[in-house]
């Protein structure tokens, strides 16, 4: 069964950013968490609450893929999209199209950072903020 990442326990978030560190490490071989597909941030300073911005795994209509001029984003079974980097020209249209802002951009490789729903972030979340839902 395919799975989709859900950030439905963000009220419990400690702000440790282990999810971002492990996503960047595993998927991008990078120590910099700015290469992570999942993004956790405050809503304005540390006294505010944390939000988790993740790919919602759209199924029927995928805005990011629809606007892609080169067909670099193809549907992923269960939801979300898969990036073919060789087809991507780095136009960033997918970033604008995603209404929840879940598409990050790799400024060094000049390609979007697309969540694979691999579940590494959920596996290393120490406070059960992230879960993998079977779809």
């Amino acid at each position: 069964m395919p799975k989709i990442l859900r950030a439905d326990g963000m009220n419990k978030c400690l702000g440790c950013f282990t999810c971002m560190l492990t996503c960047a490490a595993v998927n991008k071989k990078e120590h910099s968490m700015f290469k992570s597909a999942i993004r956790v941030r405050t809503t304005g300073g540390l006294t505010s609450s944390f939000v988790g911005i993740v790919c919602l795994g759209c199924t029927d209509e995928r805005a990011c893929a629809e606007v892609c001029p080169t067909g670099a984003l193809r549907p992923r079974t269960g939801g979300g999209v898969i990036l073919s980097p060789e087809k991507c020209i780095g136009c960033k249209k997918c970033i604008d199209a995603c209404i929840v802002g879940a598409v990050n951009f790799d400024e060094d490789l000049h390609i979007p950072i697309i969540c694979k729903h691999c579940g590494i972030c959920a596996q290393f979340c120490p406070h059960q903020c992230l879960t993998m839902e079977e779809v």
Partner: protein, 604 residues
């Protein structure tokens, strides 16, 4: 840079000039305190006062910063205006992560800004910004103003001082990212003397993982240990405040200026009491899966008419509950949070501030000083008077509060009452009257902190009191922690990171360090600290303990004064032996260090 040669940013506030140096010679010192003490030693002026414009403030991150769990600390080394010798303080939060991402292992700040200023350090620029309008504002406001003015969304760090730092309170603190601090020894006053209100650090430098399988195996192993260890669970559950209850039961919780070591209202201010009535949130430093930061909320009435209230949340920890709670006879969690909030707004070290108020209360009771000095009738258990007194310290209300703002060693030298001025070598005591380990540990600790060598913990682990054993344990711990602080780990995790684990983590990032290197760096770093302290005029054997330490029973019963001095001498003899072994002139050390570059593979 992580896994690479050390890169140091020098900022001179007087000329507003920058210099960046690649420092291959620092590679052998691992990082953290190892490199910070060297940079400080190179740049400080022992013949000039601690707050002279030319004195440096050094910030450094460690060899494993942010990329391994619980490697969350930044060290600051400075010339302490409080003790007049080595200033060394650690803070968590986001600063270490932000410095790593900005691409710097260390930042050295010298000079004095012509007018109040804040600086913004980024990987691609350093900006000097006008902060005149921010002078006098509490640190809480500064965070918001800078956040709104400066680019750097998301993962930045903002460190700032409050009015106490501007006004030269020698135990002024620096607030790091709202909930963490460089608390002790007066870094806030050092920044204030430089007209430096705040510093933002932000960067997004990509750092490729060199050997992913090695790194990932090491990371997973450490993460598992961290999240499955019972010890770390304790820090997450109730936080450090969990210790109030057991330490009070043991009879070692300093209470009412250490007139007693048992607080009759201890259960009302325990970790459990805070959790039940005030705890609203827990947070973590970047890269820490434990999350020990505990935020408590209390309600404040701001208008007596019409039921007007605001809710205020502040971080709380064991040491704050001791210093602003039991030490002042404050017996409710709400009142302690109100005092913590005031200290936070004013920007001063909660521990020194609480101990200073404890002394002032007893001095007033004993007639050493009068209400003419204190302005309010300070009394154990009376929060409102303490709130007023804290404000008087921060704004130097009169000559007495100005003296109190320089610590209890100073104020008691002016007014008397030194026997119950609870400091050790000029630094106010920590919340442990456990016995010889805690007392001597703070005296011989390089920065006179309970965290130098954990003497309070050694006391609690002893079955019988043997002063030679205590001296040896303190010495070993003091040196080991120099190595931990080069990585820089949060000391809560010291049992997770045994030697083998540390070596595995370092080697997975491509550092070539061996077990011998770790031992060598620990000793070299300690020797460098002692050299710096002695250049500043510190004499270990001249340290005298206030009488009160020997009048209130500890875990070891009543402590014997002569035995304490004898143990201090024994420790100092061990220090002398070690320092002698590292007397090599700096030039030769550099030559030896550069023979061994950090990179495992020579690109040629």
């Amino acid at each position: 840079m992580l896994g690479e040669d050390k890169r140091v940013l020098f900022i001179d506030l007087s000329s507003e000039k920058l210099r960046i140096e690649k420092r291959v010679d620092l590679n052998a010192s691992i990082g953290g305190i190892g490199i910070a003490i060297r940079l400080f030693e190179e740049n400080f002026h022992p013949d000039l006062p601690p707050l002279d414009d030319s004195q440096p403030i050094v910030f450094a991150v460690g060899a494993l910063t942010s990329v391994f769990p619980v490697m969350t600390k930044t060290v600051a080394v400075f010339y302490s205006p409080h003790t007049g010798e080595l200033g060394e303080s650690y803070a968590g939060g986001r600063l270490a992560f932000a410095m790593m991402q900005a691409g710097y292992d260390a930042i050295v700040i010298t000079g004095k800004a012509k007018r109040p200023m804040y600086i913004s350090v980024r990987s691609d620029n350093v900006s000097f910004r006008d902060a005149r309008a921010l002078w006098g504002l509490p640190s809480t406001v500064i965070g918001r103003v800078i956040r709104e003015r400066e680019p750097g969304p998301g993962k930045r760090s903002i460190i700032r001082i409050g009015p106490a730092g501007e006004n030269g309170v020698t135990y002024a603190s620096v607030c790091v990212d709202t909930y963490r601090h460089f608390g002790r020894l007066g870094l806030g006053a050092s920044m204030g003397a430089k007209n430096l209100k705040a510093m933002q650090v932000y960067g997004t430098t990509p750092i490729a993982i060199k050997d992913f399988p090695a790194y990932w195996n090491a990371y997973r192993a450490v993460y598992k240990k961290c999240t499955e260890t019972e010890l770390m669970q304790k820090y997450h559950d109730l936080g450090t405040s969990i210790n109030i209850e057991p330490l009070n039961s043991l009879g070692v919780l300093p209470t009412k200026n250490l007139k007693q070591a048992v607080f009759e209202h201890g259960e009302k201010i325990s970790g459990e009491a805070f959790a039940e009535s005030n705890l609203i949130r827990k947070m973590a430093c970047v890269g820490c899966p434990v999350g020990c930061i505990h935020i408590g909320q209390f309600r404040r009435e701001f208008d007596k008419e019409g039921h007007e209230y605001e809710s205020i949340s502040v971080g709380y920890d064991y040491e704050l509950i001791f210093a602003l709670g039991s030490f002042l006879g404050i017996k409710s969690t709400d009142e302690i949070l109100a005092l913590i909030d005031e200290v936070e707004e004013l920007g001063m070290d909660a521990m020194s501030a609480g101990v200073a108020l404890g002394w002032a209360t007893e001095a007033l009771q004993k007639g050493v000083i009068t209400e003419k000095e204190t302005l309010v009738p300070l009394k154990f258990g009376d929060k409102d008077n303490y709130l007023a007194a804290l404000r008087s310290i921060a704004c130097r209300e009169n000559a007495f509060y100005e003296a109190l703002g320089k610590g209890v060693a100073h104020v008691s030298s002016v007014y008397g009452g030194a026997d119950f001025a609870m400091h050790i070598a000029g630094n106010e005591m920590a919340g442990y009257h456990t016995g010889y380990g805690a007392l001597i540990g703070m005296s011989v600790g390089a920065r006179h902190s309970h965290l130098c060598n954990g003497g309070y913990s050694i006391d609690q682990g002893l079955k019988t009191v043997d002063l030679d054993v205590i001296a040896q344990k303190l010495f070993q711990e003091e040196i080991d922690r120099c190595m931990f602080n080069s990585l820089i780990m949060c000391l809560f995790a010291r049992k997770v990171y045994d030697r083998a684990t540390i070596l595995m983590a370092l080697q997975s990032l491509g550092y070539p360090y061996t077990d011998e290197d770790l031992s060598r760096v620990a000793e070299e770093t300690y020797a460098a600290k002692i050299r710096v302290k002695r250049a500043m005029g510190f004499d270990q054997e001249a340290v005298r303990f206030p009488k009160r330490f020997f009048e209130t029973p500890s875990m070891h019963g009543l402590l014997d004064e002569e035995a304490a001095y004898e143990t201090q001498r024994k420790f100092n003899a061990m220090t002398n032996d070690l320092v002698k072994r590292y007397e090599t002139p700096p030039a030769e050390q550099v030559a030896a260090a550069t023979k061994k570059p950090a990179k495992a593979v020579d690109p040629a």
